[in-house]
């Protein structure tokens, strides 16, 4: 098993774990953490594949750096929104929608 493949598989596993957490965890902070794990998984895949015939390949590394920056921005926004939600609703969970939910008896 080449290192690239190990990295790739680990990264994919992290991705799947992150997606599962994002969807299934009810607590907002955990959702945000899961998103970051998802991101890390993707970066791992990219970095793991960042070798062409033994020599380091700069392009995926640049992509990962960009991705990290984007993830930070996104996490910051998510945390700000979660904080606002905590102030308004008193808990770090997404409240049940009253209007707009797919209910035929709205």
């Amino acid at each position: 098993m080449s290192t690239a493949l190990v990295y790739a598989l680990t990264g994919t596993a992290l991705f799947v774990l992150g997606v599962a957490g994002l969807i299934l965890q009810p607590h907002l902070l955990r959702k945000i953490l899961a998103f970051n794990i998802m991101g890390s998984g993707i970066f791992l895949v990219l970095v793991g594949l960042a070798q062409r015939a033994g020599t380091p390949d700069p392009v995926p590394q640049a992509m990962v750096l960009t991705g990290i920056v984007v993830a930070i921005a996104a996490t910051a926004l998510a945390l700000a929104l979660a904080r606002q939600l905590l102030d308004m609703c008193g808990e770090m969970r997404l409240p049940e929608e009253k209007t707009g939910k797919d209910r035929l008896d709205v």
Binding site: A4, A8, G11, T12, F15, G18, V19, L22, I23, L28, K31, F35, M38, G39, G41, I42, V45, L46, L49, R52, D57, P58, V59, P60, M63, T66, G67, V70, A73, A74, L77, A78, L81, A82, Q84, L85, M88, C89, L94, P95, E97, T99, G100, K101, D102, L104, D105, V106
Partner: protein, 480 residues
């Protein structure tokens, strides 16, 4: 020769940042100036494409793979023109809408600017990773706009939207990573022949991931859960921008992925599945729109339904003859443009009605026909496009799609489109009917500033004119 492409991205970035620094008053003027400039640039770019075909530009003079390339063809030009055309009247509208809410305006102009920068960059991107970056910028700006006015409902909707959009772009990025792992390149131009030559199984996985991510971002049924609260809960100018433009950006991506990049591996079954989901969106969205009691939620569910029409393009253009595919392609893109114009007008008209009556339930707009005839007329015109009745742009698109369906023997999509049209008539007339009823005794109509009524009328008229002169748009589409 002067190249408008980088300026289409730089201009909104510049005025957005300046607007953030200078505050809401200057911000509005900067936005207007910036958008007029951008509209001119987009028109210039369209002309260049008609004259000379596909255009490429290397940012900073550094070409791919280390630098970033920008590229524009017919489809990009159409989308760029749509974006600037819809945004310009909405800027005037937003300024009037937020007159009493200086706090919202403070962040509205910069966020809108970044949103437009991201959209323009998306349509001009030449490699899949740059697309990811622009997608994320677009998503973050859109989420910010949803939350701009505050309030528990919009903040919750914004959070949901953010999580959904991050999930979508995450899946997309993993697909990009896999593609790079297999082929060693992210450039669209380079990948297309490589994929055509050889596609290991991983590439199918990458394609699926990217498409699923984009489907989530486009709120395709059954992934539409985030859209109604976000579009229905945001302030009207924001809803207009989101429903008319932002959604179309991820759809544009699906078009690029399906027809350009992954064309060799797209199967008829997958196309029919996409179409089936689109049909589900049309029917489910329309049914739910009918059940709504609040105006903006009705329009938001209408967006869910109308997006379904766009996905009918895939089964009609995959696995059929070249003529039929061309007809379906034209119909789909025309529907994108027509719906963008009409939905922006519709949300803006509804926002004006809510401002005037002070209520956002459908029952509350009784008497609007007499007091706000112009706004109702705008809503009615936009409704004509949504219903797909002649002589609107929506009808022209429907005609092309129906023709494609009948010519390729896929009569079941005909049924979907016709039933969808009738259902949308039901919910449009539900609003119109209510407006024609006499006003209640206690009803209080605030007078509306002109800017809340006239710019959106222009948008609605544009969607009508599209029905009479759609050939122009189509010739631009086919130019490159």
């Amino acid at each position: 020769m002067f190249d408008p492409m980088p300026w289409l991205i730089l201009s909104p970035l510049i005025w957005a940042t300046l607007a953030f620094v200078h505050g809401p008053g200057r911000g509005a003027r900067l936005a207007v100036a910036g958008l007029i400039l951008q509209l001119a640039l987009a028109a210039m770019l369209a002309q260049q494409i008609v004259a000379g075909g596909v255009r490429v530009y290397a940012v900073g003079g550094w070409g791919a793979p280390l630098g970033i390339d920008l590229t524009a063809d017919g489809l990009s030009a159409v989308m760029l023109l749509l974006t600037q055309t819809v945004a310009l009247p909405l800027v005037f509208y937003a300024r009037a809408y937020f007159t009493d809410h200086a706090n919202s305006l403070r962040y509205f102009w910069p966020l809108t600017g970044y949103l437009l920068a991201a959209m323009n960059a998306l349509f001009l991107s030449a490699d899949v990773f740059n697309i990811y970056v622009t997608l994320e910028l677009l998503g973050l700006a859109a989420v910010g706009l949803v939350a701009v006015a505050g309030g528990a409902g919009p903040i919750t909707a914004a959070m949901r939207y953010l999580l959904a959009t991050l999930l979508g772009s995450g899946a997309y990025l993993l697909g990009v990573a896999l593609l790079y792992g297999v082929y060693g390149s992210v450039s669209l131009a380079a990948l297309t022949p490589l994929i055509a030559a050889d596609t290991p199984a991983v590439v199918s996985l990458a394609a699926a991931l990217m498409l699923l991510g984009m489907m989530l971002k486009t709120a395709l049924f059954p992934f539409h859960f985030w859209l109604p609260p976000a579009h229905g809960g945001a302030p009207a100018p924001v809803s207009a921008l989101l429903s008319a433009l932002v959604i179309k950006a991820s759809f544009y991506l699906i078009l690029r992925l399906w027809f350009d990049l992954f064309a060799p591996i797209t199967s008829v079954t997958a196309a029919q599945l996409l179409g089936a989901l689109g049909a589900g969106a049309v029917l489910w969205g329309s049914l739910l729109a009918l059940r709504q009691t609040h105006l903006k939620m009705l329009v938001a569910y209408s967006t869910v339904a109308q997006l379904g029409y766009l996905f009918l393009l895939f089964p009609l253009a995959t696995g059929v003859s070249a003529e039929v595919a061309a007809s379906a392609w034209q119909g789909g893109v025309l529907q994108v443009v027509a719906h963008g114009l009409a939905k922006a007008a519709m949300f803006a008209a509804v926002g004006a009605m809510i401002t005037a009556t002070g209520r956002d339930e459908i029952l509350g707009i009784a008497g609007v026909a007499a007091r706000l005839p112009l706004t109702l007329f705008t809503f009615a015109l936009a409704g004509v496009t949504i219903m797909g009745l002649p002589p609107s742009g929506g009808f022209a698109a429907k005609w092309l799609l129906l023709g494609a369906a009948l010519a390729s023997g896929q009569w079941w999509w005909v049924v979907v489109m016709v039933v969808g049209g009738l259902l949308s008539a039901a919910y449009v007339f539900k609003v119109l009917r209510q407006a024609f009823l006499p006003a209640e005794e206690a009803a209080n109509f605030k007078p509306l500033p002109r800017m809340l009524e006239w710019p959106v009328l222009l948008l609605a008229l544009a969607s009508l004119v599209l029905g009479l002169g759609g050939g122009e748009v189509l010739s631009l589409l086919g130019a490159a």
